[in-house]
């Protein structure tokens, strides 16, 4: 760990990215909701351009874990580094002290997140959703941000929907706008929390297509999903979580052909 450069601010924004190959380094992360021990010593390393798929039964802590990576949830012990920067905390005499809000906000600029329920801003058009953070957080001129946003919309196949409000888009279209919105911040890492599980079956494909393309272009991604077809095509690694722990880890092929744990086998038999 000591080789990872530490920025005094603890922030990534504005600081050139270290050449490190490791984007996410989580070590022994523990998290409680009250008395419920939700994450029990999770460790995970994600290298640049790697795509990691996280699977596991409902309630196993997948959502909580990826929310900890951009500090939407606090952790009680362990460390999460993204691009070498400790997320959400400063270390004072070996103890974690929550970082200043402005630093946490700056760290989140580098981490894109796509939610199960899209969470587009309903009072803004697709285009306005996408330029919102570049303009008001990164302070990029509107004209420049708009140009980028239009390119992103074209990339997710929604060039014609720039001026449409979210409520007038289908679920699949909304999720693609949400992906474009996250990409507009030029993140170093994209987190996806079951991005297709709120979608009607006929819309799942269009969202997965966008994600596959993103993966092929070299985006570093952690994807919570049960779409094993997606995993097989683009995942470098699949991680199986159970009751707050990682119980099995391997290539997609490993999970299709040779899962070791009983829990993994029974889980896969339900989703495949």
């Amino acid at each position: 760990m000591s080789t990872i450069p530490r920025d005094i601010l603890g922030a990534i924004g504005g600081v050139p990215k270290p050449p490190s190959e490791v984007v996410v380094q989580a070590t022994d992360v523990n998290k409680w909701f009250g008395r419920l021990h939700v994450l029990r010593g999770i460790s995970m390393t994600v290298k640049r351009q790697e795509v990691v798929v996280v699977i596991g039964a409902s309630g196993s802590g997948k959502t909580t874990f990826i929310r900890c990576i951009n500090h939407l949830e606090k952790i009680q012990s362990g460390r999460i580094f993204v691009n070498g920067h400790l997320i959400g905390y400063r270390e004072v005499n070996g103890k974690l002290v929550e970082d200043r809000e402005s630093n946490i906000a700056r760290q989140r600029q580098e981490i894109g997140m796509v939610f199960q329920r899209f969470n587009l801003f309903p009072h803004k058009t697709a285009l306005e959703n996408i330029i919102e953070a570049p303009v008001h957080v990164r302070k990029i001129p509107v004209a420049e941000a708009t140009e980028t946003a239009k390119a992103l919309l074209a990339r997710v196949g929604l060039a014609a929907k720039a001026d449409v409000y979210p409520a007038q888009l289908s679920g699949g279209q909304q999720q693609r706008v949400a992906i474009a919105r996250a990409l507009a911040m030029k993140p170093a890492l994209m987190l996806f929390d079951e991005p297709t599980s709120a979608l009607d079956p006929e819309m799942i494909g269009e969202v997965l297509e966008v994600m596959k393309e993103l993966a092929r272009e070299g985006m570093t991604m952690i994807v919570v999903t049960h779409e094993m077809g997606f995993a097989r095509e683009v995942a470098d690694r699949v991680v199986m979580m159970d009751e707050g722990q990682i119980i099995e880890e391997g290539t997609p092929e490993h999970f299709f052909t040779n899962p070791q744990q009983e829990r993994t086998k029974s889980f896969l038999s339900k989703i495949l």
């Binding site: 809000e101 600029q109 329920r117 009072h123 409000y165 409520a167």
Partner: protein
């Protein structure tokens, strides 16, 4: 009310005899159609005091709401105390306490101030202060209800894009909460227009004070108070038109909602002219 009053007048007219009240209708009609400078000034004061007090109330309401929801305990305590105090005591007591209480105790004597070329007397300042602070307590609850009606996912999405809590509130949450806040806010302002009449107690020459003085001067309470009622009705009716327009503008963006929102006519007359089509999909 107007119709009722007129009915009473007609009945009274039939039964008019020795010792019955002598109506002076010119007092009434002149107050409406040829208002003198006093009435116009009273009207201006009622309107301007209402607007400024309501604006103060909205600002305090946002802070009160955020304070009530703050993680930091002292903020929560402060906000709760503020709301508890101002909702738990009569506005009339607040007005008299702030004006007479503070000035007699020499805590603050409300000296006149000149602002934007306007000379503002102490009683007007005290009145605006009392009305604004009181309104803020009620607006706190309204704003809070508006904020908590917004899906928490909105705040999380904003945060995940690198916004601070303040940025997310200002740019994402409050604009959406406004849709929920505006209808009750409109009712609050309707109330505010009428509640300013309480300022008669500290001699602010607003609409009610003016008419109250006039009726005493001419001993014509029927004509002048009826005229006052007409002026207030005019103000509140004009406001309901403005309110309907604002609500329609806020409706944009939420597909489906705007098409189904009641139009101006239905708001004013209480029913719908026609059943509007379903929302755009």
């Amino acid at each position: 009310m107007l119709v009722g009053a007129l009915a009473v007048v007609l009945l009274a007219g039939c039964a008019s005899g020795e010792g019955s009240y002598q109506y002076h209708w010119p007092y009434f009609f002149n107050s409406i159609f040829h208002p003198d400078d006093q009435i116009l000034y009273g009207l201006w004061l009622t309107l301007s005091i209402s607007i400024v007090s309501q604006l103060i109330g909205v600002v305090l309401g946002v802070f009160g709401a955020l304070g009530k929801m703050a993680k930091f305990l002292p903020f929560r305590l402060l906000a709760n105390f503020y709301i508890w105090f101002f909702r738990g005591t009569p506005l009339l007591v607040q007005i008299t306490f702030f004006f007479f209480g503070l000035s007699v105790a020499k805590i603050y004597t409300w000296p006149p101030i000149d602002l934007f070329g306007l000379h503002i007397e102490g009683e007007i300042q005290a009145g605006i202060f009392a009305l604004g602070v009181n309104e803020g307590a009620y607006m706190s609850e309204i704003v809070r209800a508006g904020i908590i009606s917004i899906d928490p996912g909105q705040l999380e999405a904003a945060k995940s894009l690198g916004m601070t809590y303040a940025q997310a509130m200002w740019r994402i949450i409050l604009p959406q909460a406004a849709r929920v806040i505006v209808p009750p806010l409109g009712n609050e302002f309707n109330n505010m227009l009428k509640t300013t009449s309480l300022l008669v107690i500290i001699s602010v020459p607003e609409l009610y004070t003016i008419f109250s003085r006039k009726q005493g001067q001419y001993f014509a309470p029927f004509e002048f108070f009826l005229a006052a009622a007409v002026w207030y009705l005019l103000l509140t009716t004009l406001w309901s038109i403005v309110q309907a327009w604002i609500e329609r503008r806020l409706g944009k963006g939420a597909a489906g909602a705007s098409a189904n929102e009641p139009g101006l006519a239905s708001r004013l007359l209480g029913y719908r002219w026609r059943t509007s089509g379903t929302g755009v999909r």
